[in-house]
Each structure stands twice: as C-alpha cells, then as structure tokens.
Amino acid sequence: MRRIALRDIRAHLGRTALAVLAVALGVAFVAGTFSFRTLLSTTFDAVISTSAAGDAYVRGAATTSGTDVVSGSSSTVHASVPAALADVLADAPGVAHARPEPTGLLTLFGADGTVVTTGGAPTIATPFPADDTRYPYLTGRAPSGPAEIALEEHTAARSGLTTGSTTTVVLAGEIREVTVSGVLSFDGPLAGALVVGLDPAVALETLAPDGLVPQIAVEAAPGVSQDELRDTLAAALAATDVPGASAAEAVTGDTVRGETRAQIDDQIGFLQIFLLGFAGVSLAVATFLIANAFSMQVRQRRRELALLRALGASPGQVLGSVLVQALVVGVVGSVVGVALGTGLAAGIGAIFSATGTELSGSVVPTWPTILLAVAVGVVVSVVGALLPARRAALVAPVEAMREDTPSERGLRVRGAIGAVLVALGVAGVVVASTVSEARWQDLLGAADGEAAGMGGAVLAASAVALVVGVLVLAPVLARPVVTVLAWPSVVLARPLGALARGNVVRQPRRTAATAGALTIGMVLVSASAVLAASASTSMRNVVESDLKADLMVSGFPGVPSGAIDAVAALPEVGALDPVSAGLTSVAGVEGAQWAFDMPRELPRRSIEIHVVDGTLDALDRGEALVLESAATANGWEVGDTLTLGTAASPVAGADGAVTVRVGAVVESRAFGGSFFLPQDLFADVTVPATRDIAVAFLGVAPGTSVEQMRDAVTPAVTAYGAVSVQDADDLADSLAAQVNQMLTIVYAMLALSILIAVLGIVNTLALSVVERRREISLLRAVGLGRLQLASVVGIESVLTAVFGTALGVAVGVGGSSALPTVMADMGLTDLVVPWGQIGVLVVLAAVVGVVAALWPAIRASRVPVLEGLASE
C-alpha cells in the first residue's frame, strides 16, 4: 500500500506540488517569524553588551512597571539617583571608575546641513569620558567643553562628519555650534542608533540639570567580580549620608543587561504575536487547500481505491495510504518552508539594513524553530488529509464498476448548522453595535470599568461565529450567489457564461471549499479597510471639530524649548500654548501614566476639551483633569484623591509622594494619556527623562494671516531639526497616512493568504478539468473553440474567486459595522465603508481568478476532441 501511495504522488506531481507549495508558504511564515526573532535577539544581544558594558550599576531602587492602559506601551520608571553619589562610589574598594550616565536625545545636523536620521532610531547623547580607555578613538580625542562632541564610527559615516568638522546640534532644547573632536569605535553594532558623545560635565549640565541621573555605571578594578563589586557598592551606599543614597540600589551589570534583554524580548514578542497571527491565517488557508487537494485526489482515485478494496485492502490500509501521502507532502513542504522562511527573514533584515537599522545577527533557524515549523507543517497536512482519507477508506468495492463521480451528499444538516451560526453571529454583531458600554454596565450590574471590553468580546465571538458560519453555509449559498454573480457573463458571453455557471454550482461543496480560502483573507482585509477608513474619518472629524488653533508645532523627540522661545518671539504669533507630556505613577495603578501640563488658555483658544463631569476651573484650584478613558479604566471619579509618585521617588505612595484631587473628568481625542495636571505639580511628579514638549498650539496675532504666520514659523523651527508645522488639514492627512501605512502592512501580510488561495483555485480547476475531460471533448466535438473553452474555465475561476470575495466582504463589512459602538472610547466615532477600496478588492479577486485559470485553461484546451467519446 505504501508503494501505491508513493507512486501516486509521482504520478500526480503537479497536484502534489501545489499542496507542497501551500504547506511551504504557511510554514515559511512561521519559520520566518521565528528566524526574524532570532535575528533581532542576536542583534540586540550584541547591542546590549555594547551599550551597557558596566560591571555594576547604581540606580534608584524602586521601579514601577507594567503596560500603560492608554498608550499600550510597556514602561519601566526607575528612580533617578544624584550624580554626586558617583564621587562616593569611586572611593569604594574594588572600584576603578564610577561614572554618572545622563542620557538623552539630541538632534544632529550632518555635513549637508540636514538632520541625520535613521529608520526611526533616536540619536543618543551620552558622556564620553576622556579617561575611558575601553573604546579606542579612530581619529581625534574625547570631547572637552561645551563646544565639542565626539561621534561613534557609524554615526560619523552616516552624518558625513569627520574629526575637525563643525556642525550644529540641538541639545536640551537649544541650538549649539560644535566641533567634532574625535571619532570613536564601539566594538559592536548599535542596530542603527546614532551616538553622540559629550564632555561628561556638559552632559550632566544639559541632560541632568537637576543633578539626577538614571544610573551610575561602575567599572571594577582588575580581579573584582561583578557580585563582589555589587556588595561593596551596597555597603558604600549604606555608609554614606549623601542625599538619595538610601533610595539607591546596586546591581550587577549582568542584571541590568538581563532586564534590558527581557524588555526587548517583550517588545519583539509583541511583534511576533502579530506575525504569528498572520502565519495562523496562512496555515488555516493552507489546511483548506490541502484538504481540498486530497479530497480531489481521492475522488479522482475512487475507482483505483475501489479496486484495491475489491482486492482485499482494508479501509485502514486505504486510510493509511492517503495519510502517508499527506506525511510526505507535509515533510517536504515544511523543509521547503523553513528554507523559504529563513530567506524571508534574511530579506527583511536586508531591508532594515538598507534603511539604516543594521541587523547584524544571525538568521539561521535554531533546531527548536526547525522542529516546530516541520511539526506545524506535518500536522496541518495530516489534519487536512484526514477527512478525505476517511472518505477514501469508505469507498465501497462496487464503486469500481460504477460510472462517473457520485453526486454530492445533501446539504441540509450542514446548511442548518451554518444558518444557526450565521444567525448567532449576526445577532451578536447587532447587540455589539447597539449596546453601549454604559448599558453593558447596567445589564451586568457590574462595577465601573468592569464592563469595559464587553462589547469587544461579544463582537469578537460574533465575528468568529459569523466567519465559521459562512464557511459552513457557503455550499448552500453557492447556487443563489453564483447565479446572481454569473448573470452578466451568462447574458454577455452566451453560451460560455451559462456553461461556466453550471460547472461552478454543480459541486457547491467544492466551490465553497475553494472559495473559502479567499473568504478568510477577504474578511480580514475588508474589516481592516473599514476600520482604517473609519479611523481616518473619525480623526479628521475630531481634528476639524476640536482643533481651534491655527497651527500646531510638533517634533521628535518633542519640540525643543529653544524652538518654542523662537516661535514666541515672532510678532506673527498671537497665541502660544505648548503642552508638555511626562510619565508619572499613581498609587494602586499598575503601569506608568502619561500626564500633561495644561496651559490655562488651552481649552479656550487651542483645542476643545469636553467636560464630562466637574469643571475646567478645577485646574486653577490645583486639581487634576482626568481623561475619560483613564477614568473609566481605573474607576476614578470627581472628588477622588490620587497619590502620585515624584521624580525623585517615582513610586506612588513612597516618601515624598504628592496627592491631587480629581477636579473633573474630561474627554479629548487629541490626548492619549491619563490626566492634565497644574503646571507646578506636573514638574514635580513627572520623570525628567520622560518629559518633553509634545506639541505647541499657535494662534495668529491680530492682522496676520495664517499663511504669514506659517511662513514666519517654519524657518524659525527648522533650525531645530525634526520639527514640523501643521494646520488642521496637514494633521488630519498625516494621521490618515499613519493609518494607511498600518493598512499597507496588513495588506502585505494578507497577500500571502491570497497567494495560497490562488493555488487552491488552480488545484480545483485543474482537477475539474481532469474530471470533465469527456464533457470537454464533447463540447469540442460540437464546435467549441479552444479559446472559448479557455474562457469557460476562466469565467468559472473568476466566479469562484468573486464568490469567495463577496462572502468575505459581506462578513468583514457586516462585522465591522459594530466597531463604532465597540471602539467609541478609542475615538472611533464614524463608520465609513470604503466602497471604492472594496470595489478594488472585488476587481482584484477577478484578476486573481483569471491568473489562477491560466494553467487549468491551457490543460483543458489540450484535451483531445476524441477523448472518451469513441466507442472502441
């Protein structure tokens, strides 16, 4: 039996190759994801050992960590330590050097006068001590004094600056003219980060104006281990009476590197979950294809299998022979997939490198990755082949004597199950789209905040029910839906359209299974398209209704204070409201919280702040204005008292914590964070390193036009580098562009599932051509030309593809219609269905159909006219 199974694979290489390719593509995604992870990890391992090279570190003892509810980012806030502690530590036994490490971001202008940037990686300013001999200077020497900087090797190359060049940097919000004193080489990669070295005294003065630094790096004297060093440092901290020493802790370099490593892994892990989601979709689609491929093979081999049964093969043996084939397909596909995936990861790495983020790690997949990928591929293949194999095993020996393929079984049970699922799904979507969060709270009798996400959960469950239901129901839907879709071709291309329609609806199960792969992909694509269009429009509406200022100035990282001063000095500017943002912590709440400082005039002239409860005057009384989303998530109400951590002691509730009363609950879609604080309080409680001017709102002076102001402001801020000036339209456009960029990534990912779907259509068509050889001969005998025959196959293919797409779009658009209700508190207010884009999807599906039909159509037109019709 095994020999027969293997011979059969050889005999049907074409179809086997399709199944192998499907598995390979799915597995490639899984393997690629893990390979890419390996690439990132090995790269960052090297980066970490370069950038955190100290033997031990002294830093604020306490941390607040967790995931920020609103921004979604994971933040760890360490207490700062006084830089002055370094002098004490340097005297401890076994210490070679103790250096405060004030670190910040700066803007560097290159030799060509433009801002030096890399793919989103920041330019880091850090002290380069003259007595640090670990890293050699390639040219020049360490920076000395405020007018000198040193550059890391890659940074120098990228900026075009060399030792002796003069250039401009924006440091601590001010423009400085500086000379490059030297170029230094780290002996490891930095993943594209740009590093600028400063005189340690200058770095302290500019990056740590309050004398507090995130950490003090300590180098051990020769022969002193990291653990010994940590213990002596701890002893030194306990013995001194320098302020802040008691709140500081000593840790080994390995601990710091391990923590950094864990944080990075967290972020990579998030990316990986995202990628694996798409891999899952691809594999689901691949499973469909494999199931299809095998069920067709089984159907084609019916008579052969029946003959085997007549010769005494047991059902188990037949089952086994099909599963052996699946195993071969799975293993071969997985191996190809691992190779493809590794190539994929290397390709992505190359793209990153080309855009400036050097990923120097290895993409060679680890053994666990290979084993996992192969296991996934084999399991998917065997699972896909299981049902067809069972059907093969149950072929009765008398089948061998029967003519033609048996008709498909009734669809009543399947239709009923599908209908129930679809009904449940629709009901769920309706519920999710009509029941607001507040209503859920009432219905469930839940406490504040506990009903949050209820709508989303209902929608998610309904979406799953809807997708599964439609896939189950699809064979029943095939006849009516395809009949409608085929109408133009039936009328325009007589009799080809009618022939094609007949073929598509003849075997509704097969049509549904083939179209199913596209359906899954299209559900995701159309739902994403609706989400993106709705989000863009919602944001545009918010910008248009809420933004009162004429222009806004924003930058990365933040707007330099010098730029604000420059703008303030312009006569064209009548109103200026800079808003700072910074992280703080709140007692009893996991995670760091974004706080904003609100200029008094902001709500009146710059941006609409909607009051939900309380009044805006509360800010004048020294109270906080809490943003509604944070209030809901944490159960904060007007009158509550929040305990905030401070910069020196960022753990809320510890010594020196500050309390503030909630004066109002407000809503503003422009600010994603937790609360607005009075200015003095903001300065006290936010961590300096996280504090930036996020945005400044500008209003024109009397008698000046917006254009005049813009013409004046733009050159004033351009001197500070990456600072942009936008009006409401620009802002809405740039927000929409961000959304569309996300969408592009989603489309790129889903292209893979569509590719697999194409393979599925090719497979189905090729098989149905084989099955219909006699019918094709007949048609040719009565005068159907080759091109006409090819057109019939083409129309069939397009009908199948458009059918799958239509189902997917219906589910995707239908399901996402509930998004505005579910995501109301995330700022999604408007439901916009981008019919244009969806029309493009349908056209794309038709094109996919044509492409998929090419090979089967050629095969069909090669069927000899005589085939199967002759009597001899």
């Binding site: 009618a498 007949g502 073929n503 007949l778 005998a781 005589l866 009597s871």
Partner: protein, 270 residues
C-alpha cells in the same frame, strides 16, 4: 478552405456508388497508421467510401476493423496518414484546426455512444448548444420540427440527469440535427441502450433521413441497428470488405459471419 465537387472522382470499388447516385461525403485512398517503424499499426488501408446523400449508411465490422477510425477521419477528428476526405463542399483533410472547429459547429452533427450531453444544461440548451457556440440564431420552425420528431416536447426543460438513457440519446440526435448539417455521424448511438430505447433512437435516425432529408452515417456492431440503414459498409482489418444494400438483420448477420470466418465474398450484392 479547399472546395471540391460534391461528386466523387470516378473509380470503381465496393464502397463507391454507381453512376447516378450522389455522395454527400466521400473518402478516397484513405490510410491511417498509428505509430512508426516496427510498431506501426495500420488502422485504415487505402479505403474508398461514399456516403450517399439523403440516406442512412451503417458502418460495421469486428473490433479493430477500423470503423471508428474511419468515422473520426470523416469527421475531421483524426487526421489520416494519406488520402482525401470531403464532406459537402469541404476537403476535411486539408482544413486547419480553426476551420474544422467551425465545420463541427454547423456542418457536422455528432451522436456518441455515451456522455452526449452537458450535464449542467437543460435538454433545450443542449440541443441549441452548437448554434449558441456558433452565435447563430435558432431556426424555431426547424427546431420545433426536430423536437417533435424526437418526441421530447415535454422534456425540454429537464436536465440530462432527469432523462432516461433513450431520451438522452434522442436529445443528442436532436442536437446533431438542429444545425441542418451536411452529415450526421453517429458512433454506436445505441450501444448503451436497452432494445426498446434503441429502437426509438434508430427509428428517429431513419425518419430524419426519410422525412427530414438528412444524411446520416452510423458506426455499429449490432446487426439489428444496421438493418435500419439503407446501405451497410463492412470493414475488416482496415479494408473495406463488403457492401450490403437494403439490409435486414439476417443478411447483415450472414455477411458478418462470412467476414469473421475470413472468407470475404467476391461479389457485390446489388
């Protein structure tokens, strides 16, 4: 496209009609070999036949005698190794594929042993299929006449799966006739039918000749089927062995017996 006269060049032979009778289709020196060299098989060996206009001609012979090959060469479905085939005004042996396809649409009608109908189309759609493919208008009067003749008026909206074997073959016959082809070729049209259904189909084929004036050639190995013909051509080992006019089942059986016994009668029965 090469045109030829409807009259075959004069020559004598068992398959050639005597002077005064008109051939609708004819073949001369028809030879068909499969394979080359040592493995070559000669399916047809220098065959001359005429198919008389307005008559039903049966082609008989034992398995492997070349009767199906002859029919496929006549239909342009297979290219002869040498020789000429003319159907109506067309030299089939010199036609290009495209023109052959066009000829099959309206110049020739086919009835096969089985699998004659497209399962997804109704009986009526199947009947008009060649016209639909050729994008020609259906002559309703002729259509009605044909449908009436095959007795399928109340079955037109049925799909093949809902028709009996005999009914399916009658639909196939109607399809073969609906274009008023120069020649209808039937390849074992009753091979899969019970005797009553076979009688219906054969009766119809004969009526299409007698009443509708069509020209029909039919390959069969059933003497009873052959007895419906005006003229029977007997093939053996790729050669035309004998011809029988106005056959009955008994005379056909007799000739067949003689053929299989290997003794080919020298005389042509008139």
């Amino acid at each position: 496209m090469t045109t030829a006269t409807a009259h075959a060049p004069r020559r004598t032979g068992v398959g050639i009609l005597p002077v005064g009778r008109v051939a609708r289709a004819w073949a001369r020196n028809l030879t068909k070999e499969y394979g080359t060299g040592a493995t070559a098989v000669t399916a047809l060996d220098d065959v001359d036949v005429d198919l008389e206009e307005g008559r039903l001609t049966a082609i008989m012979g034992p398995s492997g005698s070349g009767k199906s090959t002859l029919m496929h060469c006549l239909a342009g479905l297979d290219r002869p190794t040498s020789g000429t085939v003319v159907v109506g005004d067309h030299d089939v042996t010199r036609m290009r594929q495209r023109h052959l396809t066009q000829l099959r649409r309206t110049g020739l009608g086919f009835v096969f042993q089985s699998f004659n109908l497209v399962p997804t189309l109704t009986a009526e759609e199947n009947i008009t299929l060649p016209l639909d493919i050729a994008r020609e208008r259906v002559d309703r009067a002729w259509f009605d006449e044909v449908v009436e003749a095959v007795g399928l008026r109340d079955r037109l909206s049925h799909r093949p799966g809902e028709l009996s074997g005999g009914q399916q073959q009658r639909v196939a016959c109607a399809r073969a006739l609906v274009t008023r082809p120069a020649l209808v070729l039937a390849d074992e049209p009753t091979g899969n039918l019970d005797s009553r259904s076979a009688g219906e189909v054969l009766g119809f084929l004969r009526r299409s000749v007698d009443e509708l004036g069509q020209t029909v050639a039919m390959v069969t190995h059933d003497p009873r089927a052959a007895s419906y013909a005006h003229r029977v051509l007997f093939l053996a080992d790729g050669r035309l062995a004998d011809v029988l006019e106005n056959p009955t089942a008994e005379t056909v059986l007799e000739r067949l017996g003689a053929l299989t016994a290997g003794t080919s009668p020298a005389a042509v029965t008139a």
